[in-house]
Symmetry: C2
């Protein structure tokens, strides 16, 4: 009943360029959005956060999450919105005790480091994440059909990194020690995480997100072989469980393994029976888009991949680097079959001058139209 | 005169397996050494460092540098020694004021951030690095021909990262901002660095090192395109200036770009006129050795690439992971033409149990002999 009500209540989509690019359909220009586009580089975000008192204060109150999600869209003609939230909401709902310490990043009070802690892990009750799904529905209403809304989750491996390390890490010593010493325990953590992530994303889809993205932020720290066994296999386990349609709309899936440029062929086809190819692969700035496109034979759309540090340069250099990324992707067959979504190769830096994003978005739209007109 | 004396004084080499592997000549087994093999994971290193008072105290006194360089060879039958030093000796000699702050890593008192600081940069007088060259000669004598001695330097780009950031960095914001905003200044820094690195390595060669390695530790943080222009081009500038022979011995060159697995073809042949292919490419653990070997068509030897975190697992798992790396490289043509030097994909962790290295070295030697016997 809830679903039916939502469908009737959400306004029709006015700008479907992002979704068309996900499906490798022809578009008039290259759509653009930015990872962490609602964030600390915006003064209005900092003001709302000050009101909310904390990052999690923002994330857990749907009205604030809605406000900050829409802030970048008020400034820039971005082609998608992304839910304001954090990848660590899921392990927090598992009872690990998340906190954000001033200047230190996230910490878990009860990291998962022994057999007892692993055994106690379970897929959390989605009611504990109700604030996320309420935010999704609230944002969809507030967007009023301007652009599509992207939902997201961390990948099973990326969540496991935080759960075992108890926070960020330079060397991933604890999580990799567990992985190499007790692969059985690591597989058990990843199974629970994959099932939790799938349920979490499906519930976001029911609440109104129009595309989903899996952030495999730490997949790239794994050795060849370990990546396939401990990250990719569990992203596949997520994808196998995901709804691919909701309310008559297909839901494209974006997978982004930072530092995963060597494994693109396997992401498209691992050779395992039942492999699911996501619609879009996110790429960081180390990857040449044209070469990536050849390697995946245009079987997926590509998202990326400007170095966020380009945004510290003057507008002329930003435009030159945008053009370089657009040109590296290459031409679009007129009938479709290729897809590029412009983005950064990582989240936007908190130190970014907001006017740099004006230059970026303007250049992506203008130059991509011009390149398409050249054929 | 100094050179002639050295040649007469150094004992003949007893174990040339490492050098043969660099030249892709047949070997009975796969040679092994470890990045940072003389380091904090060894209690005897910690004892010597306590005597010396500091890391730079060790590095700047040839007798101590000699002692710690030889320590791992007393414990393990490693196939090469590497000069105990630091990549930041060169910018320190440029007058930037290096210090190592407790628990914080290296800091430069006078980072290079504006036009005036860039203009003031110059190739340092090698007399200021005499302690390094004295250490090289002292180590060669102490080794007494057991195994070859590897000299090293940071790459021009990697040194520039520290020089501009003033220390380590998470996001390379300052150095990349300079690179994107003022490429002219960045190129000037890199020119000076390349010429300094070449002179530094040549002077190490004259003092007695038998192979040289360029650590491009931060090349992998660059965007495609920027890597080629700001890191690879200046590594080439170093290679063009390097002595390739000394005292009748050829000096192999190892280049290791951490995170550079996507650019292997270009490292072997950039397509630029006069491109110099180093004898050996170092690889981190994200790269599959067998695939890398195909991509470079065995035109270089490969060095690597176990994840250092494997050394936190029990011996049986260490042996299994060693075997996986050896097998991923594949077979050796009996007449030569392929080369593999076993190493980690990064420096050994200070938390490594020293007995793990026993298991590692033993497994590399035993299993590689067995695999060669299988043909």
């Amino acid at each position: 009943m809830q679903e039916r009500d939502n469908r009737q209540m959400f306004a029709p989509l006015q700008n479907d360029t992002f979704l068309r690019a996900c499906w490798r359909q022809p578009t008039d220009y290259t759509p653009v959005w930015l990872m962490r586009q609602a964030g600390r580089y915006l003064p209005e975000y900092r003001a709302t956060r000050a009101q909310a008192g904390s990052f999690m204060g923002l994330a857990t109150h749907p009205e604030w999450a809605t406000e900050v999600t829409l802030q970048p869209l008020e400034r820039y003609p971005l082609d998608a919105a992304i839910l304001f939230s954090d990848i660590l909401t899921v392990p927090d709902a598992m009872g690990l005790g998340l906190s954000f310490q001033q200047g230190e990043g996230p910490k878990f009070e009860r990291p998962v480091r022994d057999e007892a802690a692993v055994s106690a892990l379970a897929v959390p009750d989605m009611e504990r994440l109700r604030y996320v799904f309420d935010a999704v529905t609230s944002i969809r209403h507030a967007l009023n059909g301007r652009v599509p809304l992207i939902g997201f989750s961390g990948s099973p491996w990326t969540l496991a990194c935080y759960m075992v390390e108890g926070g960020g890490s330079d060397d991933y010593r604890l999580v990799k020690s567990l992985m190499y010493s007790r692969p059985d325990l690591m597989h058990r953590i990843l199974e629970v995480n994959a099932d939790a992530v799938a349920l979490y994303l499906n519930t976001q889809i029911e609440a109104g997100v129009q595309a989903v993205m899996v952030f495999d932020s730490w997949g790239g720290v794994l050795a060849d072989g370990a990546f396939q066994a401990f990250s990719q296999a569990y992203i596949q386990r997520v994808l196998r469980q995901l709804k691919t349609e909701h309310d008559g709309q297909r839901i494209p899936r974006i997978v982004f393994t930072k530092g995963g440029g060597l494994w693109l062929e396997e992401m498209v086809n691992s050779g395992q029976p039942g492999h699911i190819t996501p619609e879009v692969l996110g790429l960081d700035w180390t990857v040449n888009l044209g070469r990536a496109r050849q390697r995946v034979a245009d079987r997926v759309a590509l998202q990326g991949n400007l170095d966020p540090n380009v945004l510290f340069a003057p507008p002329a250099q930003i435009e030159a680097e945008v053009l370089r990324v657009l040109e590296s992707f290459g031409r679009f067959p007129p009938g479709g079959g290729a897809g590029h979504i412009f983005n950064l190769g990582h989240g936007i830096s908190q130190h970014t001058p907001p006017e740099s994003v004006v230059a970026l978005v303007e250049a992506v739209h203008r130059e991509s139209r011009r390149l398409r007109a050249q054929g």
